[in-house]
């Protein structure tokens, strides 16, 4: 697919996203391409599994090509009255894994920073659903609450040393290994039955909340469920929102509700985000925050291959009459034709009509 075609499709998508975000008073945030490396070094694991491109600036500072937008937004957000609500569409630069090399990734998204109320949380979720619906009618937005599984394990006295491994297995929906680990550590079977129900449960949000309320949750998990229940009621009528507790995020940065968005034919999440008060605290901001990113580069394969031609007319010439050839090309382009000239037919180039420029005129 041509870069131009993809970038025009991306422009179209971003225009739709911008309309959605500005309709709720979010303002555009523009970031430079570089940031001091120190910012990422201190929060390395927030940029999951990514390598960072660095260079030394003229004044000796170690700089990085931005691998992420969220960190910059928080860093550059001064404490103020009310909330900071911004959206962006930027390139970030990272290598997803050591074998893949660095690439430029187009990312759009938004951040809501400040003293968030439950309304703000619901609004961000609704905007995430709106972003997905701009990409596909058949989107799915999965929500989870980090306090639910964590709280459930703690409330039910599951030994602290096996909790991280159980949570990792929950992410894989791997109940067979979770059960074996729990058995070895004397976790009661009824606890693991409930755990398995939770990690395999996937249902529309309100329905899922109802089903979870019959489990032996404990105080902390019940509190998390109550927040989800309020969100479910507020978002009643918004299509495509599901609960999936296997969805996990790094607890050092994220807390509360987290989310991932999916559309058909893209084998990984196209949207990712959640509540990240942990990150704002690490950056010494006394504020809550929630946001999400839409990975526009993943949409490349959904843009249909062009079936047309690269030019209307291909003119072959011998280069001996530049003045006459230019006149002929100008006449054709003035007539609205796309014209390519060359001394031989370029490989793979598609055109409607082939002309030759010989003896001062064009011939079939």
């Amino acid at each position: 697919m041509s870069d131009a075609r993809f970038s025009s499709a991306l422009d179209g998508i971003f225009t739709k996203l911008r309309e959605i975000y500005t309709s709720r008073g979010y303002t555009r945030y523009r970031v430079g391409r570089f940031e001091e490396y120190d910012l990422y070094a201190k929060n390395r694991s927030f940029i999951t599994g990514s390598s960072i491109l660095t260079f030394t600036d003229t004044d000796g500072r170690l700089m990085a090509l931005k691998p992420d937008v969220t960190l910059s937004v928080i860093k550059n957000t001064a404490p103020s009255r009310g909330l900071r609500k911004v959206y962006y569409c930027e390139s970030v630069y990272r290598a997803a894994d050591p074998s893949s090399g660095f690439s430029e990734i187009q990312q759009a998204g938004l951040e809501c920073i400040g003293s968030l109320t439950l309304f703000d949380v619901c609004e961000v979720i609704e905007l995430a659903a709106g972003s997905l619906s701009a990409l596909s009618e058949r989107y799915m937005l999965d929500l989870s609450h980090l306090g639910l599984l964590d709280g459930f394990l703690e409330d039910n006295g599951v030994p602290a040393h096996i909790r991280p491994e159980l949570l990792r297995l929950a992410e894989e929906k791997n109940s067979h290994e979770a059960l074996a680990l729990a058995e070895k550590n004397g976790v009661p079977l009824y606890v693991m039955d409930a755990f398995n129900t939770m990690i395999h449960l996937r249902a529309p949000l309100e329905d899922a909340v109802r089903r979870l309320s019959s489990l032996p949750l404990g105080e902390m998990a019940a509190e998390a469920l109550s927040e989800l229940a309020r969100v479910a009621v507020a978002l009643r009528g918004v299509e495509g929102i599901y609960l999936d507790l296997s969805l996990r995020c790094d607890g050092r940065y994220y807390n509360g509700i987290v989310m991932r968005g999916y559309i058909p034919d893209v084998p990984s999440p196209v949207l990712s985000g959640g509540r990240y008060d942990g990150l704002t605290k690490r950056l010494h901001r006394d504020a809550g925050a929630m946001g999400f990113a839409v990975y526009l580069n993943l949409l490349e394969r959904l843009v249909p291959e062009p079936d047309g031609t690269d030019a209307d007319i291909l003119i072959l010439h011998d280069g001996s009459d530049p003045e006459g050839l230019l006149r002929a090309v100008r006449a054709l382009t003035a007539d609205g034709k796309r014209v390519r000239t060359d001394t031989a037919a370029p490989e793979g180039f598609r055109f409607e009509r082939l002309l030759r420029y010989e003896g001062g005129e064009l011939r079939e």
Binding site: A9, I13, R138, Y262, P264, V266, S268, L299, V303
Partner: protein, 217 residues
């Protein structure tokens, strides 16, 4: 942006080529996902049973996880060794309890580890070996090999190897022994995380039916 229509209810299943694939297919068949076309002689690469809602293809065992992670297959069957080594972002839904073997540290029977020296470890499974020794706090010199791993300690290339042991016959014939066990290995049902959402009913039903015909539940 085109509205895709390829999310059909048919499940694309990646099976490992070879003996394990045959055994696993027998389980799929018993679970009601037979594909008679698959048993016919020929050179076809993809086999479909529209009636049972499955489409099978056989790939190199180490590639199954890639097909599933990238969404070319909705589900697949991969060895736990491959899942531990490459850590694909997939769901692991079932332990088939077949293709059982162990990932072990092996070496000469009289080998004694001297903690003062860096341990030389030859293996095809570098991540598994690195994680195992990191857990023990042991510094190692990793030697990545692609095959004939047992040769390494015999020829003095390494002190030990980390490799899959099924019966231990090859080790014994070459004067080697299991020194410690790293983990158990068996065949697992894996699923693409996005397909599992858009084909939720089909994947859930497949997992349930397979668990009913599988020894380990």
């Amino acid at each position: 942006m085109k509205e895709v229509n390829s999310v059909s209810d048919i499940l694309n299943v990646a099976l490992p080529k070879g003996r394990l694939g045959d055994k696993v297919y027998a389980l799929f068949e018993r679970a009601g996902y037979g594909c008679p076309e698959l048993l016919e002689p020929g050179r076809k690469l993809i086999f479909e049973s529209a009636e049972n809602g499955v489409r099978y293809f056989f790939v190199k065992p180490s590639d199954v996880a890639i097909y599933v992670e990238r969404g070319a297959a909705d589900v697949g069957v991969a060895g736990k060794d491959i899942l531990l080594e490459y850590t694909p972002q997939v769901y692991e839904l079932l332990d088939f309890g077949i293709g059982k073997c162990k990932m072990c540290v092996c070496g000469r029977p009289d080998f004694r580890d001297a903690p003062a020296r860096t341990l030389r470890v030859a293996t095809k499974f570098t991540k598994i070996a690195r994680d195992y020794y990191a857990g023990l706090g042991r510094q190692i010199d990793m030697i990545h090999l692609n095959g004939s791993i047992e040769l390494a300690p015999i020829l003095g290339l390494s002190d030990v190897i980390v490799d899959i042991v099924e019966t231990g016959a090859t080790l014994r014939e070459n004067g080697l022994a299991v020194l410690s066990q790293v983990c158990d290995i068996s065949a697992r049902l894996i699923a693409n995380r996005v397909s599992s959402k858009f084909k939720y009913e089909a994947v859930t039903q497949l997992t349930r039916r397979l668990s009913q015909v599988t020894e380990v539940k």
